[in-house]
């Protein structure tokens, strides 16, 4: 066989190659152990002595040329290092992997909120669930016999006079401020308990996250700015926010924060009660009486505090309509998050 006709054959064969598979066939045809070039090499000894060297060089040149032609073709086929699926692979079959374990949506929501605040410089703290009446009420400027207590129905322990299950995460404020000097910037997630009748939006146990900042010059404007960062990070940049005056015994001035309804964008729907606004948290400037109880000089320091229900945030975020779902732990529910 002469080199020229092989060269011509190579060119026409290569032009017909349009896939990795065909290229592989092409490679085998010429370069495999029994391929065309191997046959040429094998034929060398049968040639007259004088032609052998020249013929050998030509075969070698052809071989090198072929290798670069194949590499080029491979590149033009866009594969490079990739080797496509075998014909026998059905890529429609289910993938093989260990199933992911998942954090509870409440934990995920806590993590998300905590991390927004830690990125702003807050620390995360923790406190006990069994609390004293002082830390839960008195230290927070909630008088024992006042209608403001109505908002804080509380489980008491049977054999321990002044102990209760914390009805909010705010007692950790009292603990933290007693334990450390300002500056303080802390968020506190955790379980809280209230003897509420159970329905789609009330439970006797739920989660809150509390945050507070105390330093020499903390203002209500700082509170507004910090919470705006939070709300936009959780609910999106396009939400509107408003601060409404409200009353909490432990803050003055106090506010409730609404965001424009994330379902109807403010037009009014059943989720927001046709108001266009969703209440998401309570906040305010820490009351001087709270500072007094924990021994912080209210003339020197000021601070803000805020608190919100995790379940409420998660329900809004994920569109969950029944709070009880969080605690049934149905895997069909948990695996959605």
């Amino acid at each position: 066989m002469d080199i020229k006709s092989i060269q011509a054959q190579i060119e026409s064969d290569l032009a017909a190659v349009h896939s990795q598979g065909q290229l592989e066939e092409f490679r085998l045809k010429y370069l495999s152990r029994k391929g065309a070039l191997a046959q040429l090499t094998a034929a060398i000894p049968t040639l007259p002595q004088a032609e052998r060297a020249k013929f050998g060089q030509e075969v070698n040149a052809l071989k090198n040329n072929l290798a670069s032609l194949i590499a080029e073709k491979e590149k033009s086929l866009g594969a490079g290092i990739k080797s496509g699926p075998e014909i026998s692979d059905d890529i429609g079959m289910p993938g093989i992997a260990q199933e992911l374990g998942r954090l509870h949506p409440i934990t995920q929501t806590i993590n998300e909120i905590s991390s927004i605040f830690t990125r702003m410089g807050f620390c995360v703290a923790d406190g006990p669930e069994i609390e004293t009446e002082f830390n839960n009420f008195t230290g927070l400027n909630i008088p024992l016999e006042h209608p403001s207590r109505d908002a804080f129905d509380t489980f008491y322990l049977k054999d321990y006079e002044k102990l209760l299950l914390r009805s909010h995460t705010s007692p950790v404020q009292v603990r933290a401020m007693k334990g450390r000097l300002p500056p303080l910037a802390i968020v506190v997630p955790g379980r809280v308990y209230r003897p509420d009748a159970v329905d789609a939006s009330h439970l006797f146990m739920f989660h809150q996250i509390e945050g507070f900042m105390v330093d020499a010059n903390i203002t209500f404007a700082d509170l507004k700015g910090s919470l705006e960062i939070f709300a936009k990070a959780v609910f999106g940049d396009d939400i509107k926010m408003r601060f409404r005056p409200h009353f909490f015994p432990f803050t003055e001035p106090s506010a409730e924060v609404d965001i424009s309804c994330i379902i109807c964008k403010g037009a009014g729907c059943s989720v927001c009660g046709r108001k266009g606004w969703l209440e998401i948290l309570g906040c305010g400037m820490i009351h001087p009486n709270v500072f007094k109880q924990v021994g912080i000089n209210a003339q020197k320091y000021s601070g803000f505090a805020f608190g919100m229900g995790i379940e409420r945030i998660a329900m809004l975020k994920y569109g969950i309509n029944d709070i009880r779902l969080f605690f049934e732990n149905d895997l069909r529910f948990l695996k959605q998050f």
Binding site: E99, Y193, G225
Partner: protein, 676 residues
Amino acid sequence: MKVTYNWLKDFTDIKLSPEKLADKLTMAGLEVVSLEQKHGDFVFEIEITSNRPDWLSVTGIAREVAAITNSKIKIQRSKSQVKIKNLKTENLEIKIEDKKDCPLYTAKIIRGVKVGPSPEWLRSRLELVGCRSVNNIVDITNYVLFETGEPLHAFDLDKLSGSSIIARRARPGEKIVTIDGEVKQLSPDILVIADARKPAACAGIMGGKDTEVTEGTKNILLEAAVFNPILIRKARQALGLQSESAYRFERSVDASAVEPSSQLAADLIEKLSPGKTVLAKSAGTSKVVAKNIILDCARVARVLGVKIPAQKIKIILQALGFTVKAKSKSKFSVLTPSHRQDAALDVDLIEEIARIYGYELIPRTIPSIKPQAFSWGVLDAAALIKNILTGLGLNEAITYSLTERNLAKSLGSTENLQAVEIRNPLSREQEILRTSILPSLVKCASLNLNQKQEYVNLFEVARRFYASDKGPKEELCLGVLLCGRKSLSLEQGMVKDEAGLLHLKGIIENMLLRLGIKEFSFSPDGQSVRIEVAGKKAGAMFRLSRSALELFDIKNREVFVAELSLDNVIPVLNLKKKFTAPPKYPGITRDISLLLREELGIEDIFQALRSSGEPLLKELKVTDFYKGKQVPAGWRGLTISCIYRSDERTLTEAEVAPVHAKLNALLTGRFGATIR
């Protein structure tokens, strides 16, 4: 609290539409939760916060409307000019047992009234604010209550015995039938208004049936008073009663509004029913001591983060009824009006200024924080543990800390912990704080099995609680539950992996190792496996017995659970990592397949092999494990991989062979294994 647009207009000019007004009120802290057009008027339902009893009246809200819309408050009708001439023939004595219980009591005697239906305008206004019309006299007292915020009560004078009216504590054993027809047992914790013989009303809460105004009533005694808020609150709770009166008294009423309100009611009665006020008497004081608050405008700016001009501050406070005097260029001396007993500190005034100025006009700024990278409590460790467990494919559950006693006991308790009980549970599910996480996890498993889940793998990190000598204790725990078959789709097809104790062990081992804890052990302990961490018992794992499963309605399934006290784990965790270079020289792996008698523990065998294989033997692994038909009864088949390696050179076959032969000999000799 409901008010109507037209009623408000009696007291101030309103140019805003009802919708605009609702919005303004909401943004000033009087949240309008509904606005309804009804009978030619608009009804606002407003949520009034518990610190603002002055807003529990039409006049109070009108004052607010005037302040936020920059208009004037009209002269209040309640300021009657006529002084009542007490008739000599009338005789009434007011006795107050304790001024602390009842700082002020006023009474008017109105004779010759004709009880009948109220005129249309009165009925309709009351009905708009959600108050049922009873008769003209009762309606007038209610009307004045809604308009001025001062609760009034009318007694049928002729049904009162004697000529004295007494504000006193109820005596033990006394009873009263209240207007709602209920018999109420009274106690000395309850203040009553009594005649010479017996209680005629639960003071400030509800009148008595015996002395109520009825169709035949001719003469009335009109009460207007001030009662101790705490006393009324406690009595109201003890009696299980709620009323418009009590709602206002427990939030405290404006003493200076008592007499004008009473006068307003008397005027209306004279006008709408042919009665005549013949006697007006009072005991106690209507004086309210004004508080003097020093307000520094610089502090207003420091708290709010915005500079509001001093003049603006003054205008706002005056519109709300405060008396403002300049003390210096930027300081005011502010006197509280009688209806603002809630205001005591400068921050209370600052809130008022901010409210009227508009929260929305306060800028948004970012505080500069001095970052503190400390972490309190166990949250970081708990988060790490949760991440490790989800990495192992487990799903996190969150269950209630409160539970019923029986459920808590259902799995028994190796520690026999004493539960902490709840004093005021609403239901059986809230009787106690749980002493273990496991029963609630098993309950979740039961629910999931009912939903036809093939494989349930849950964990929870939460506290358990128990009573101790030093009071109630809470302890952070980890509960893990495995149940069912995990389907693994592998190259060789679907493989079913049946959960067991070794799976639990694997999970806990992996977790502890990742936490940098090397000292831990698992050992049989009765029906369960004891888990020790750093030489101390940290928990247990076990398979649920058939009877336990029955309690949870789980059939034909095995459930495996583990509970670990994280309070025993977290203190010994060690996240400081030290790098060790990977081995420089390749190792040589030699497998031994053998048959071993079942009762021999693998840990003992490994220990013997390790010491015998030193120093070249670096690692031992069980790579295969089987029981069943291929092996004789009482035996099990094992494949052990031995990895030999040197840190100085590449080992040769010749070096490894004698060591490996020694291990083989040890297995056949000391442990009676058959090498296959």
